[in-house]
């Protein structure tokens, strides 16, 4: 088996047994990036020199018997995480020359675990997009078919992980940005409960929704990454002070008697019938594994996308006010006064989608409109969360599609923002409620990957990983990779 086909547990075992070194493994992945990424465009920055230094340090740790499960494992980090001394662009011209002066907590934790960072992955600008086409650095291509989008906003991470250009990657998910690209690229993507992973140093888009998580080839790999990423951080005021369980320990639990809720709203209008069939086949597999299926209703799900496009833009307009051309980031040439400096720096630094969302947010928050938009959206958000709370009185997990369609063609939806927003009809409600959600690969449709979404109760990540792992023990869909890589 080639090194890039091995799971993280297999790589860790190989490193400990000295079958290969982290330097060799890292070089192997760097060669793969050099060979394939001109086509895929999944990395914005490849940090070759630093990666090899980290690999050598990991080899020394392993030699000294001080290795953890991620020591020496080459990972790709979404370019939304601040990395000390390394460009952190967030996919934007605004931050094209921004060298982060500190590490995000997530990055710090990976460093402490001895993981190797291969580079920073491409993404929709400021994580605003569902196809990775809003990046200042150009679109990412889906390794399963390079005419197709990889999904977004963590599209670079998904494409890199799918093409085996890294052992695993990180993403962030504000409305589906981990689960949807994972679905479109045949990967396992986990968005944990809001507050589970520190947001410190993760460039903010919508602070009440943003959450980081792993994008991997299996639930087992996801458990290993989450173990390192999760935990309380005093530097993030919304970080949850909840104990972190042993995510690997519960992976093998039996699913007998597991109650799966199927919301009828997830199988209605807008869902591609072929995707529906693939999801139903996966549910049948769960029945064979001993699970019981219960039909449930999330009556307010149809309001999730409308409410999200108030809450997210409102928070974005506030968060992105910091990009003013004064302290860091792009500054326009020859400003004639302070207002001109602000307006032109922002006008030149931001792309069209980011501008649209800032404007929608500024409008929704402006005098006279606040009650009709922002307050109303926060109330609708409560209705959506209550729907889930009622459902979890009856079921252990909720399942449905992660995305209404398989990957679409590059350019297909770029002229119609509202059509693009509807790519996330099944993922957005989970962020509004703050719940954990996953996407795992099921049977593809016409060679295009399909993702099954699994939604859990608050802080029930261990169960989600267990439910995903047992399916992956019984099936082979997650082992499939794109041809040519």
């Amino acid at each position: 088996m080639s090194l890039h086909e091995k799971s993280i547990a297999e790589l860790a075992a190989g490193l400990r047994a000295k079958a290969f070194s982290s330097v060799e493994l890292t070089r192997h992945y760097l060669r793969r990036i050099a060979a394939h990424d001109a086509t895929l465009n999944s990395f914005i920055t490849v940090t070759e020199e630093q990666a090899l230094e980290q690999a050598a340090a990991a080899d020394a740790r392993i030699q000294a018997g001080d290795a953890g499960p991620l020591s020496g494992i080459p990972l790709a980090q979404k370019d939304i995480f601040c990395t000390n001394g390394v460009r952190t662009s967030c996919g934007s011209k605004m931050l094209d020359r921004f060298i982060a002066p500190y590490d995000a907590t997530v990055i710090e934790r990976f460093k402490a675990a001895g993981a190797v960072m291969l580079g920073k992955t491409n993404m929709d600008e400021f994580a605003m997009g569902s196809s990775n086409e809003t990046s200042f650095y150009g679109p990412v291509r889906n390794p399963w078919n390079t005419e197709l989008v990889p999904g977004g906003s963590s599209g670079g991470s998904a494409a890199a992980a799918a093409a085996r250009l890294c052992a695993a990657a990180t993403g962030t998910d504000t409305g589906g940005s981990i689960r949807q690209p994972a679905a479109l690229c045949n990967l396992t993507g986990l968005k944990p409960t809001y507050g589970r992973i520190s947001r410190y140093g993760m460039i903010a888009f919508a602070s009440s929704l943003d959450q980081a998580g792993p994008i991997t080839r299996s639930a087992e790999d996801a458990a290993t990454l989450l173990q390192v990423m999760a935990g309380f951080d005093p530097r993030d005021s919304t970080s949850a002070e909840e104990p972190v369980p042993d995510y690997l320990a519960a992976l093998g639990d039996d699913l007998k008697g597991l109650k799966i809720g199927l919301p009828k709203e997830y199988f209605g209008e807008g869902l591609d019938p072929a995707v529906a069939k693939a999801i139903e086949a996966a549910i049948e597999e769960y029945k064979r594994l001993g699970a019981e299926v219960v039909e449930i209703s999330l009556p307010n799900n149809g309001l999730a996308v409308p409410a999200y496009y108030v809450v997210a833009p409102a928070e974005c307009s506030s968060n992105l006010a910091r990009f003013d051309g004064v302290r860091f980031g792009h500054r326009c040439a020859d400003p004639k006064d302070l207002e001109d400096l602000y307006k032109r720096s922002r006008g030149e630094g931001f792309g069209d989608e980011v501008k649209r969302r800032i404007l929608v947010g500024a409008y929704a928050l402006s005098a006279g409109y606040y009650d009709a938009y922002y307050l109303k959206a926060q109330q609708v958000r409560h209705l959506i969360a209550d729907d889930f709370n009622r459902a979890f009185e009856k079921v252990d997990v909720i399942m449905g599609p992660a995305s209404p369609t398989t990957a679409f063609k590059l350019g297909e939806k770029t002229d119609d923002p509202v059509q693009m927003y509807l790519s996330d009809i099944y993922t957005i409600a989970v962020n509004l409620a703050g719940l954990p959600g996953m996407s795992i690969p099921v049977e593809p449709v016409d060679g295009r990957p399909v993702g099954l979404q699994i939604i859990g109760n608050y802080f029930d990540e261990a169960r989600l990983l267990n439910v995903a792992h047992r399916f992956q023990q019984a099936t082979e869909w997650h082992r499939q990779g794109p041809a040519g890589y």
């Binding site: 507050g195 496009y309 860091f328 404007l359 929608v360 409008y363 923002p417």
Partner: protein
């Protein structure tokens, strides 16, 4: 609610965002479509529903009022567009 070019100019000013004259009409159309989507919320009866500001209904945590960060001014200013004597420079505001 449909927005026109004048509305976009006003919002863009509030957001301190330059939008070129040629782009105004397209932006007005896009924003109008987005607001049409958003206004589907109107169908929900939310009378008496508490607005949800935090997904876990957590209160803001407080920390002791003590200095915990070290002074990194030089480091932070090294990535600024223009500084002088430890200050950020902007065009003259007061004549």
């Amino acid at each position: 609610m449909p927005l026109d070019k004048a509305d976009v100019e006003k919002i863009a000013h509030l957001a301190r965002l330059a939008v070129s004259e040629e782009a105004l009409e397209g932006v007005a159309g896009d924003l109008s479509n987005i607001l049409d989507l958003v206004e589907q919320m109107g169908a929900a009866d939310t009378s008496g529903v508490e607005p949800m500001a935090h997904p876990l209904h957590m209160a803001q945590r407080l920390r002791p009022d003590a200095v915990t960060e070290t002074d990194l001014r030089d480091r932070f200013q090294s990535i600024a567009p223009q500084t002088e004597d430890g200050l950020y420079l902007v065009p003259r505001v007061v004549e």
